[in-house]
């Protein structure tokens, strides 16, 4: 969070620079089954973010030392393509990507029925093609749809949503400018079917009341997005690739 007070992020009428209201998401498009080589896949366009996800498995876990006797290992790679940001990103090791991969894997280990696949591995490959604030959430959403597309049983689909704070106002779904110059960001991975939270990070400055407001926005947005995810899966199995 930059938190630079001198950048104006809300219009005088309380709307946001891009015209959205404070509890309005950027437009979302989702497709399932976009990667023929994969066992399951999804494509998510969320505002200017563009993410694809492939799922492979369950497959035998290699090497054997990573195997778990009573459950599957969830192996996530969140990766930003070199051309996904304004300044090119050098391919390879990256601390931020490693951290997001870790907590994303832990989120799905909590919702995938891993106990059905002892000693095996499920690979979730999240590729960020275009990054404009909110890619970790778009990745969570894409991975849920890709897992469903792969037919892997889950207790529910995790939906990636975020709220934040700009000019002392809690708003839903920060865009790039709001992320750069805002005061807080709260990305969450919510299972709307159970109300559980499987993923949470937060940074910035947020009072307890603001946190409550941000969580309310997130839960409401997650429920809406869950419908879009289901529609994408229905479209995949009923009506072909579109």
């Amino acid at each position: 969070m930059g938190g630079y007070g001198d950048v104006k992020l809300l219009n005088d009428d309380g709307s946001r620079l891009d015209g959205r209201s404070i509890d309005e998401s950027r437009p979302i498009e989702i497709k399932a089954g976009v990667i023929p080589a994969a066992d399951g896949s999804a494509w998510v366009k969320h505002g200017l973010n563009e993410v694809v996800c492939a799922v492979y498995g369950p497959m035998e876990a290699h090497p054997r030392k990573i195997q778990l006797q009573d459950q599957a290992v969830i192996d996530v790679r969140y990766n930003m393509a070199p051309f996904s940001t304004s300044d090119r990103i050098r391919p390879g090791f990256n601390r931020r990507s490693r951290e997001i991969s870790k907590v994303t894997a832990e989120a799905f280990a909590s919702t995938v029925m891993v106990e059905r696949y002892p000693r095996s591995k499920i690979r979730i490959e999240i590729e960020i093609l275009s990054a404009e604030a909110g890619t970790r959430c778009a990745g969570l959403t894409a991975a849920s749809v890709a897992l469903a597309d792969a037919g892997i049983p889950m207790r529910g689909m995790i939906v990636g949503v975020a709220s934040g704070k700009v000019e002392d106002t809690v708003v839903l779904d920060l865009d790039k400018a709001e992320d750069n110059y805002g005061q807080a960001d709260l990305p969450m991975g919510i299972m709307p079917t159970t109300g559980e939270i499987a993923f949470m990070q937060m940074d910035g400055d947020l009072s307890m009341e603001e946190l409550q407001q941000a969580m309310d926005y997130n839960f409401a947005a997650a429920a809406e997005m869950h419908d879009i995810m289901e529609a994408a899966l229905r479209a995949r199995y009923e009506g072909g690739d579109e």
Binding site: L68, D70, S101, E106, I197, A198, Q201, L211
Partner: protein, 261 residues
């Protein structure tokens, strides 16, 4: 193949204890372990602290380097916080490049400090666009017997508040104390035996589930949160934790205050 037998038995044992509102260590649900905090304890660091948190031991050293500011913030210094979970600290750690665990530790502590605004980055600038101080916080875990996040976070802010800017070493004036206006404190809660407890120890972590780490600032606002490990939680559980968190953070902030001038 990683053996799951011990953790399964342990998990059952922890669940039985939790049902009786007990913990394996005899502590209460929200009770932490004994803490020793020492500052100014590393000869070559510009700021330092050692935390002995139960059987967990963490050193933090702060160093300063002069760097050219980033081109998009020419009048600001910078902050870097990294952690090493080296094989010294536990049988389970292996040598090699930074593990996801060590990266997460460093980044969670980093966010809590950075987002609290406790350091005025603009005050670290010497010549705009030319030179500014980079504050480097190195977390070195020596013994991991549980809850390294809180031990590292405590040592980090204590070491920062202990730090002296080595201006003389770099020929840019006289040394002076780093101004640290605030004292962000991190508290970690772990699901053990089905319920949350504060300050899980080694066995509770081994048999436990997800971890929630929260950094609170002096004004009681949150500066960072992080959910780690397998498991989920509800909004109601988070609320309960946040209440406890405020109390624990206050106590730890007093401990830091008592050790640095």
């Amino acid at each position: 193949m990683a053996s799951q037998v011990v953790p399964q038995l342990l998990r059952q044992h922890l669940a039985n204890l939790a049902a009786d509102d007990e913990r394996i260590s005899g502590r209460g649900q929200w009770q932490g372990r004994e803490i020793e905090l020492e500052v100014d304890c590393l000869y070559n660091a510009d700021g330092s602290a050692k935390v002995v948190w139960g059987d967990t031991i963490v050193y933090v050293g702060v160093k300063f380097e002069l760097r050219e500011p980033y081109s998009d913030r020419p009048t600001s210094g910078s902050l870097m916080c990294g952690a090493e979970l080296r094989p010294v600290a536990h049988r389970k750690y292996e040598p090699g490049p930074p593990s996801p665990e060590s990266i997460e530790l460093g980044r969670v502590v980093d966010r809590g400090i950075r987002e609290s605004g406790c350091i005025d980055m603009d005050a670290l600038c010497i010549v705009p666009g030319e030179s500014a101080w980079m504050v480097i916080i190195d977390i070195h875990v020596i013994s991991d017997c549980g809850n390294i996040f809180d031990a590292a976070g405590l040592a980090a802010i204590a070491a920062l508040r202990n730090a002296t800017v080595p201006a003389a070493r770099y020929d840019v004036g006289e040394d002076y104390k780093l101004a640290v206006a605030l004292t962000p404190i991190i508290c970690t809660f772990t699901r053990v035996g089905g319920r949350y407890v504060y300050d899980a120890d080694e066995e509770e972590e081994l048999g436990g589930a997800e971890r929630l780490s929260i950094t609170l600032g002096d004004n009681g606002n949150m500066h960072s949160m992080q959910k780690g490990l397998k498991g989920t939680f509800t909004a109601a559980e988070l609320s309960e934790i946040l209440d406890v968190c405020a109390t624990r953070c206050g106590e730890l902030r007093e401990l830091v205050d008592s050790k640095v001038e």
